[in-house]
């Protein structure tokens, strides 16, 4: 294992690293704040008061129920693709293909939604979900198998498959699934029975959020409370050791990629059945990559991912308000998000060093105290002899 791999894995995967430490919270919080400070330099550059801009960025999200709901609407698919990245990451794989797997799920969901939208809601929604899981799973299975059988880098294959999915989607909405009217490159609306129920009236918040929460809990339970999860994490933390212990590395890698892909596929399902109700070119772009950001920010734990995806959702909806309010290009959020990723990872890199320093300090203090205590007792003894 290279030094880099080891340090990353130490920072994330080592059983000890999951123990609650001040740094688990400190690193992400400081990173977010620092990213905002760096972003404010850009705002000053174009002559905008950063405080005013950030006021919009953050508090516009809480101004009414609709905006709060919008944050959660944005957070839902990010949480799901974040879970997808997390699951593979814990097995030592970099699944950069959340984007493509989400699109695969969306294509399947929209296809089934178009064909079965007249059936009772329970049936058609269930079928859409199942189709999305299978399609996303297949989109993860292929890189998984190529990795397992040929040793092809799952990183590059998943990146390539993102684009394959994008163009496949583009083809579907251009030709076979194009709307009956034929005007725009988009599909017809799926049957109304396939729409996900809304959680709050007059908002776009749909039951997909509940799906994301349930899956977060499920991923936590599977990864940390089942033998399967133990095996998957063992492969991630120490492949050689896992193999020595009789764990089939290939099978577990492929399985992890399938589950990871399926999780991202569900994001496609919630976007189609919950929000758009049809598929068009260029919908929900970058959600797969936002998921990676959420996972890294959340320390690759399901709970952390969920909280982080809400934060990213806030940044994204807040950005539009900021653009309207003070005329800051909304794309500044991409900058802030990129800085957050870099700072969190840099913070995690420094974490072992910082923790080591703390440890050394504590040891020094303990040694000093011990020395002093010994000296004191010696002093007593000497005094005793003198007397």
């Amino acid at each position: 294992m290279s030094a880099l791999d080891k340090r990353i894995k130490d920072a994330f995967l080592k059983p000890g690293a999951r123990r609650w430490s001040v740094y688990s919270l400190l690193v992400p919080i400081v990173s977010v704040l620092l990213a905002l400070v760096l972003g404010s330099v850009l705002l000053l550059f174009i002559g905008i008061n950063p405080l005013e801009a950030y006021w919009y960025l953050i508090f516009s999200n809480f101004s009414n129920t609709y905006n709060v709901a919008e944050v959660l609407v944005k957070a839902t698919p990010i949480a799901l693709t974040g879970l997808a990245f997390t699951f593979a990451f814990r097995t030592g794989l970099f699944n950069i293909g959340g984007e493509g797997q989400m699109f695969a799920g969306a294509m399947a969901a929209v296809f089934v939604g178009l064909k079965t939208g007249h059936l009772p809601p329970f049936v058609t929604i269930g079928l859409c979900l199942a189709a999305a899981i299978v399609a996303g799973g297949i989109w993860g299975f292929i890189p998984g198998v190529l990795k397992g059988v040929f040793g092809s880098s799952e990183i590059i294959v998943t990146i390539m498959f993102n684009y394959v999915a994008v163009y496949l989607l583009s083809f579907l909405v251009d030709k076979p699934l194009r709307e009956a009217a034929g005007f725009y490159p988009q599909t017809d609306m799926i049957g109304e029975n396939a729409f996900l129920p809304f959680l709050i009236q007059n908002t776009r918040l749909h039951i997909g959020l509940v799906v994301a929460i349930i899956l977060s809990i499920l991923v936590y339970v599977v990864l940390w409370k089942t033998p399967l999860g133990f095996r998957l994490r063992a492969v991630g933390y120490n492949p050689d050791g896992a193999e020595y212990a009789g764990i089939n590395i290939r099978r577990n890698m492929i399985l992890a990629m399938v589950i990871s892909g399926a999780l991202a596929g569900v994001a496609g399902f919630t976007e189609i059945n919950g929000i758009h109700h049809r598929m068009m070119d260029n919908f929900s772009r970058n959600v797969g990559f936002d998921g990676i950001a959420a996972s890294l920010l959340g320390g690759a734990t399901p709970g952390g991912v969920f909280v982080s995806s809400i934060l990213l959702g806030m940044l994204q909806t807040g950005a539009s308000a900021m653009q309207r309010g003070v005329g800051v290009p909304a794309n500044i959020v991409s900058i802030i998000q990129a800085l957050i990723i870099i700072l969190v990872l840099a913070g995690n890199m420094m974490r072992p060093k910082l923790e080591m320093r703390l440890k050394v300090k504590r040891q020094e203090r303990e040694e000093r105290e011990e020395r002093e205590a010994r000296k004191e007792s010696q002093g007593h003894q000497e005094g005793g002899i003198d007397a």
């Binding site: 290279s2 030094a3 880099l4 791999d5 340090r7 990353i8 850009l42 550059f45 174009i46 970099f94 950069i96 190529l146 059988v149 040929f150 040793g151 092809s152 880098s153 990183i155 590059i156 294959v157 990146i159 390539m160 498959f161 684009y163 394959v164 163009y167 496949l168 583009s170 083809f171 251009d174 030709k175 990559f289 990676i292 950001a293 890294l296 290009p329 794309n331 500044i332 959020v333 991409s334 900058i335 802030i336 998000q337 990129a338 800085l339 990723i341 870099i342 990872l345 840099a346 890199m349």
Partner: protein, 310 residues
């Protein structure tokens, strides 16, 4: 269709293919140096985008497309310097860093474009590169039109192929680069400064990818729009792999991908047979096939993706 129509179609197609392969070639040659030294640079996409933007800005303010290209290279180097800092020095994971760089570039270019030019509906027009006919050669039938009536950057790109080959295989620099990518510990033992070599290679990839981006904005579209690279940086990453990490292979890969791109543009208008989206997928699928090693072995530099800490 008669023969003359056919010949004209093929000349136009090949000429376009050559042009379309150029940005990929620039970025892929840069990516090759970075990867041969052991650093995966999937930030090429973002660096190209920055180059495309900076090229337009440079040309706009100086009135010279050459200075624009220079600014593009410098901006590519600047972004690559950040990438080198976080991957080589701080040693953050290279893939995630690349993603962050891409995201950063999307934000920075769109932010500064609006900051500089406001929200415009008409694209900013700048001085761009125009075709230079090489005297004598451009009048040759068929090849003259395809090969020798291109913009200056096209000639530069293709000249860079033998130059890169020479640097990589015939100079001590090249030997250092290859050693650092294959076996950093051995390189360190014989006194090659591993991380400095890597940093320089990443900077070179930034300069070349920046130039590749500038070719798009100053040599092809003559403007900047958000996200105008649209995957070409990743195609360059693919070309490095498909070209097996050497200049000749990368040249072939870029040309193949260029032909696919030129064909899909024509299919879109002609509307025959294969959906154009499948041609757009082609580079990515081809690269996946190359990665399986079924068709010949692809051997990546051994230390690729691994940071070096003493």
């Amino acid at each position: 269709m008669n023969d003359i129509m056919n010949a004209a179609f093929i000349v136009a197609l090949l000429s376009a293919a050559l042009r379309l392969s150029v940005p990929i070639l620039f970025a892929a040659l840069g990516g090759m140096f970075s990867e041969r030294s052991g650093v995966v640079n999937i930030g090429l996409e973002g660096i190209m985008l920055t180059g495309a933007f900076a090229g337009v800005v440079g040309s706009y303010f100086t009135g010279s497309q050459w200075l624009g290209a220079l600014v593009a290279m410098l901006s590519g180097i600047a972004l690559a310097a950040l990438f080198a800092l976080i991957t080589v020095k701080v040693q953050i994971n290279q893939i995630v860093s690349g993603i962050a760089i891409n995201l950063l570039a999307v934000g920075l270019t769109s932010f500064f474009f609006r900051a500089l030019f406001g929200i415009t509906t008409t694209p900013i027009t700048v001085n761009a590169f125009s075709p230079v006919s090489l005297p004598g050669l451009s009048t040759l039938p068929f090849v003259g039109e395809v090969l020798f009536s291109q913009t200056a950057l096209v000639y530069i790109a293709f000249l860079l192929v033998p130059v890169s080959w020479f640097i990589l295989y015939k100079t001590s620099w090249g030997l250092s680069i290859r050693t650092v990518g294959e076996h950093p510990t051995a390189a360190d033992t014989v006194g090659i400064p591993v991380n400095r070599v890597r940093t320089l290679c990443v900077l070179a990839s930034g300069a070349l990818a920046g130039l590749g981006g500038a070719f798009l904005s100053l040599g092809q579209f003559n403007m900047f729009v958000d996200n105008m690279i649209s995957g070409r940086g990743f195609i360059a990453v693919a070309a490095v792999i498909f070209g097996r990490w050497n200049p000749k292979g990368i040249l072939i890969a870029s040309l193949i991908f260029g032909v696919a791109d030129a064909l899909q543009i024509r299919l879109q208008t002609a509307g025959i047979g294969i959906p154009y989206q499948f041609l757009l997928m082609f580079p990515y699928l081809l690269t996946v096939v190359a990665l399986t090693g079924i068709v010949g072995k692809t051997v990546a530099p051994k230390a690729l993706g691994k940071a070096y800490a003493k």
